[in-house]
Amino acid sequence: MALLETTDLHSNVVGYDYYKLAPDTSLGLDRTATLIAQARAEFPNNLLFDNGDTIQGTALADWQALAKPVRCDQVLGIYKVMNQLGYDGGGIGNHEFNYGLSYLGQVTGSRFDVAGVAKRKTACAGPTFPQVLANIYSLKTSRPLFTPYRIIEKKITAQGLDGKPVATTIKVGIIGFTPPTILSWDKRNLEGKVYAEGLRETAQKYIPEMRARGADLIVAISHGGLDDSPYAPSMENGNWYLAQVPGIDAMLLGHSHQKFPDAASTVAQFNLPGVDKVRGTVHGVPTVMANLWGKHLGVIGLHLRRDGQRWVVEKDRTTVEARGTQQADKSLVAADPAVLATIAQEHAATIAYVKTPVGTTAFRLSSYFSDVGDSSALEVVNQAQTAYAARYIKANLPKLGGLPLLSMTAAFKSGFAGPADYTDVAPGSLALNNAADLYLYPNALYVVKISGAELKGWLETSAKRFNTIDPALATAQELVNPGHPSFNFDTVTSPDFSYRIDVTKPVGQRIVAMAWRGKPVDPGASFLVATNNYRASGGGNFPGIDGSKTVLASPDNNRDVLIDYVRAAKTLTRAANGSARSWRFAPVKTAGPVVFHSAPGKLALAREAGIDNVSELQADDGKGFALYAVDLSK
């Protein structure tokens, strides 16, 4: 009999990238479905389980949860497909809580009795398979939020002593666990409503009860990985301990986005004592983790023997595999067309949702000339970050309210991958997928509190983007230092703040005339700077900015903050959103040209943006870029 596992599907029902609006064949339950069919053909006795982190993670999920919330009588898209695939049971991951308890209760067909959630008279449409979760409890009732375990009576065909097939029933007990850490990760949805208990205590409580109620086999569906640090009920990945609770016959894991077993794995959690990464056991318990996004299917093949009264697992004959949709020859198994057919309407609606305008722009937002001061694609990002941070600080951190607030951002696309690799959003309507062009990286908005000296250090590090220019040199000099990527060239674009970059000076001495509202910046003064988690947490190794200065680690993505800003602004204009320049080069007359490379034929865009000291020297530098010159004396 096989236990089949999917995990961390994250709403990847069909393999599709909703921001690129293109198929993504590397993932999706539509391909896993083919692996499921193959495994079922091989093991006619089988049970199919999902480990959780199922209902969140793509634009499809957001569309169904937020944009056009699924109705009570409708089954959520991914559950519809899972019902069709005949799942036997499922667990609950941490991300199931992301849209709140009311939504989770609705889509899982539950009737939660928790504070702050109206108890439903009747359950809404949901999965037709049982969902189990044993370690999360309602604070109001002290009872488990979901059914903690379920004993599934599965009809199987066994081989009789006479060698002939015998139809019989096996009772498979499933028990679910999720990381207790959801209480901090989803604090705003869960605080005062539910509490968590540790995996070990929970298992010790329920497993004897499951055995007493006749379970022949016990399968733990635990959303988490392995960790051998000293046991704590609050630990995120408690399954190294869970495996040691007597009575568990198999573990289906998830959450870590890894595959197990994997003989080649260098991942720390699969190289712990008691973990056999080749055979797929943890303290002797057969264990599988099926990677993420439907890329793999976990397959535990159990050989069972009837020993008088009960079923016994013949451990030596157990096999454990994580089977990939990508096969040995690198080709992919075919997608099961029935999956797309089942959610065709939701899929099409999500594509329409991603293309829905959130606002319009009257000017072209591009990054071709960001290195020479064009803020076309940057100012709106800084404005959105500043507006969000100001609002948040006023409401939640009033003590910091009096400090000057700046925002930094960088051009994320600046020709690194070729002349087409620039931000370039045409005038007209802006949709969700354009917001991904304007803010490429998956970042969260963070705010740091730093001194004037640290602010200068930040800008000095950004200014490593430039080579040191010798004004006396008559030959051409390259302006840009390719060793310092554009994403580490942070700039301010605010009328309140100004500075000059003197590229004739060595690194660390280039920022001059730094002023806040016209007054020189005092090195000892305090500033708040809105940025992203990458920078605030030490990305790019900017001096002093290493996580220790963070005063706000917001749960909101910079991209979503930008979308909200555009939605409120309705129309972006050059004057209001694309012309503020905080920095200019310190003027210097150079004997020879100072040159840089950008996409060809874009000079008119520089002019539109008010950059009047740039000229095109060559239409093709031999690599598909044009060679431009910047006159630093202007």
């Binding site: 994250h10 990238d17 590397s26 993670g57 941490n94 991300h95 992301n98 850490t181 901090s184 990760w185 640090s229 870590s256 986005h257 260098t266 991942v267 720390a268 991958a417 990286y441 998956p442 970042n443 969260a444 990527p485 994403f487 988690n533 990458y534 947490s537 030490g538 990305g539 190794n541 002093g544 290493d546 996580g547 220790s548 963070t550 680690a553 993505n557």
Partner: protein
């Protein structure tokens, strides 16, 4: 504290040792910081290979910033896209 001189004299070498200790104990944020210090030779001799190893360790420990760093440096666009999605996902269960 020792890295930035917060209330104590700056001692980069000591800071690097403390970050290494944290990283060895499995702290992904410490591993990310240590990777940065090794790359730039801050408090330690520059060691690009060791920096890369710690960056990978930080990414394995679900540091969103380490995953993003790997993504930004990844030449294969499909692999980079996967790392960015991993970074986005890791960010959702970062507690700071």
């Amino acid at each position: 504290m020792y890295r930035n001189g917060a209330g104590v004299p700056v001692d980069k070498a000591r800071a690097a040792r403390l970050f290494e200790q944290g990283a060895l104990e499995g702290d992904a944020d410490a591993a990310f910081t240590l990777a940065n210090m090794l790359r730039d030779g801050e408090g330690v001799a520059p060691d690009a290979a060791a920096a890369r190893r710690w960056l990978q360790r930080a990414a394995d420990g679900e540091s969103p910033e380490a995953l993003q760093q790997l993504a930004m440096e990844e030449p294969d666009p499909a692999r980079a896209a996967q790392l960015f999605r991993e970074a986005a996902h890791a960010l959702q269960h970062t507690v700071r």
